[in-house]
Symmetry: none
Subunit: 195 residues, 4 copies
DNA sequence: GATGAATGAGGGTTCATTCAT
DNA sequence: TATGAATGAACCCTCATTCAT
């Protein structure tokens, strides 16, 4: 997907700058001026492309989500078995470029606004729905139908919980530990013959 | 523990008001004025008792944590077996008065500040250390030593993940579902004879 | 020196407004809002041009100093003999537009902040250094080298003391009286043939 | 003069504390709380003894003035000739305990308020009147009547100017230099036979 | 007399947002 | 398209002052 129009390039720059500023400054500290500076633009231009601050950060969240989605899709495309697809989903969620304290800080800041920003809530809903759908499409071939929903939710929650841990205590939780946790869960939860 | 001194009573009122305002307004929206009004006091008095806004919310977090701790302790005191202690810890974390979307929203707002507020980070560390210590003291009698740490982290993460889910999508995740998730995890992860 | 850029014009307006408000209100009373109103602008714009209050008043002091400097330079350019240069310096310091109680009040307010504002202290140092240098370049031709420094300091102190008197008791000290004092000093201190 | 009543002792403590806080903090920074703390008292007590902040600092100025007055009187009592009395007045004004940058800073802060505080203005008037009267009573025996007023004003202004210099540039002006300046002035201004 | 709780006004400062250029 | 001037609202915080104990 080429971004031919200059305006679309500018918008992407700003979305990314917004997300990056969020990593260090949090929502309150992420002023339009800082975002503009970070993107090498002037303050006024930000509101030229986005109606207001909340729209900017809505798009920042969308972009971060799209990035994650891409990673998942790419890995899913290479997966052959249901189990591989499960692993693809999980590993995509812990890719090194994503599973960073600073990235988690930005997500935390966005999630903290979800209760008061319907747009952000909507994005969250979409993210969760996709995750569930992806997981179910794999689990369906591994577990009895009655258990799929539960396990899908467990996997999602475990991923989220590990991410949260990374955000709250940067030191002490490595990517490998997180992945080991996920595998440990699957080993005990999925039928023995599977793993 | 009686709070005899009037100042201590006032401080508690304000801590609680702060936490409650946080539930609806988020960190940025939780104005000192709103907190004061919510506590039936004047704006000035808040800073008479707390040096500044961040100290107020630091104490609000401490209080919320103390409240959770109490619930855990109380249930632990009634537990007889290691497994009961495990369940005590888990159930305390999902007590109805705590496991509410609004409460979760407040926690989310506080957690989102952790990366930039060393005091909040410290409290988070304490919370996590206590949770781990509590879980280990029960798991030790149930699992081989080599697995305890991992399972303790999994339980913590699962709890956190379920909480996060509640915060992000209020509808669709009941307390019972959450507890069922936890039990499902234990059933599959702990030795069969235990459960 | 033309101020072509609009921002530079605005800054000058604000500097001057600051100095004028200072005359009536003193440092504590010289609110940013009053300064803005006096300049016919909004409070926000003041901090758009000056990082903070103290920077504004630092520039106000600089401007007032520049104004005095100009007056001195102009008179010095017309002076032919060393004695005339001496008189030029002195008379510039007592020009009617400067030697006003209100102007002195503003200076007093600024000077009172010098001990706690390094920037203002720096400006004071510059002012004094220039005054000394100007005086010495004239006195050198009138007095033995060993006496020049002392007399320069005496003249400076006498000028300052008379200004202070004007500021503390507006009535009772006219410009003419002040100039007479200065002349009386010179008559008695400089060699007889000079005057 | 004994201060028998406890209340009078307390008032004096507070006056002095006020003056001392003024030395470091300036008028705006000299809050009632700091003054109270400096005097080892509680905030409330300050306004128990003084109607309001300005009254407190008015009394602080009075006290500082009284202290100077005492020094002058003491030296005058030991003076035998008119010239000695002149020297007594001058030397009292440069006594080591007074001629300190910090003391000067406090005076500067008070003087900066004079234009807006009639009470302080009144004290200033009294100070000046006494100084003039003291000087005249000595000069009268040394100079022709027509010159006395002028010389008295010159001496006063020179003293004030040297004090101001001390306040604005602490380093570089010693007590000895200041006294030398005063003597230099007298040597050149008074009849030769006198000195 | 003494304390410190409580108030409320006001200040500096920050920022999203608007607008003219 | 892009800039940055300008506004105004709101916030945190400070403090003099009042009052109950």
């Amino acid at each position: 997907m080429r971004l031919t129009k200059i305006s679309e390039i500018r918008r992407r720059e700003l979305r990314r700058a917004a997300f990056e500023v969020l990593q260090k400054e949090g929502m309150a500290g992420a002023t339009l001026e800082k975002v503009a500076t970070h993107a090498g633009a002037s303050k006024g231009i930000v509101l030229h492309y986005f109606a207001n601050k909340q729209e900017l950060f809505e798009h920042a969240m969308r972009e971060a989500n799209a990035s994650l989605k891409e990673a998942v899709v790419e890995r899913l495309n290479r997966a052959r078995t249901p189990l591989e697809r499960l692993e693809a989903i999980i590993e995509a969620n812990f890719e090194e470029r994503f599973f960073q304290p600073s990235v988690c800080h930005a997500w935390l800041s966005l999630c903290a606004e979800v209760p008061r920003e319907p747009q952000l809530a909507r994005i969250q809903t979409i993210i969760h729905a996709r995750m569930r759908s992806n997981l179910l499409s794999a689990l369906t071939h591994i577990l009895p139908a009655s258990e799929c929903e539960d396990v899908a939710l467990a996997i999602t929650s475990l991923i989220d919980g590990l991410w949260l841990r990374l955000g709250l205590q940067s030191e002490g939780l490595t990517r490998d530990m997180a992945l080991a946790q996920m595998r440990d869960y699957l080993v005990h939860r999925l039928p023995k013959t599977q793993t």
